[in-house]
Symmetry: C2
Subunit: 154 residues, 2 copies
Amino acid sequence: MTSEKRYLEDFHQGQHFDLGSFRLTEAEIIAFATEFDPQPFHIDPVAARESAFGGLIASGWHSCCKMMRLLVDSVLVNSSSMGSPGVDSLRWLRPVRANETISAVMVVTDVRVSASKPDRGIVHFEWNAHNDSGEHVAELKTLCIFGRRPSNNQ
Amino acid sequence: MTSEKRYLEDFHQGQHFDLGSFRLTEAEIIAFATEFDPQPFHIDPVAARESAFGGLIASGWHSCCKMMRLLVDSVLVNSSSMGSPGVDSLRWLRPVRANETISAVMVVTDVRVSASKPDRGIVHFEWNAHNDSGEHVAELKTLCIFGRRPSNNQ
């Protein structure tokens, strides 16, 4: 780990990042879902108990947003990140419930310089998240554009 | 359109839903990204002007969350939705900026009854979002599980 700015050249296939963890309270789950995903099993503990999930679960988008925050804090902060074209695949494998500790890791699966814009490149990576019990709760395959180190694109 | 509860049987391939539209203010873009995606081009209008985007842009996750809200309000409310296993593909094609009106539509691409759990089925669909200028800003291919109409699974 370094506090120097991270560029495309600082990523390599197989590189592993521990992104840390997050926990959601029941109030946070309900507040987020009330704004963005107001389905009964995300906002109503009583209805959730009678649902197939047997209790309140976080919106999958909430988990993604929390993982994004971990990614920004661990990897994208002080980097040449130029955003992302999207997500190749996302799986919500198990529900995320209040007060679980969800730990995320990321592994770099591919790094390549852009053919059309040689000042930048694309890093492909996979996020995986597990709960306290070691159960796999989410898998996300995505990509991010990073600028190259200035000395390498002049 | 009907106010009756929507079940798996109410979806068919090729079915089109107009999900309506959303707009984000600069303050909303900054507040969301400060919590979940604090990259300079999402939270700092000055830094954003000097970025490749030329100005502040919404986090792609923010756009997804707003589209999810449109989907819930238009389709999932009063339905037998049992959540989603994930997303097959997501593309943020153009930045979403403050005060743009982003309109979303959804088309059903496949409907099938679960082989292992005959009380439910999977609906595959595509979301597409366009801005005021008719530019395509996002495409999302996803799936959602719906319970079958009770009379059909006894």
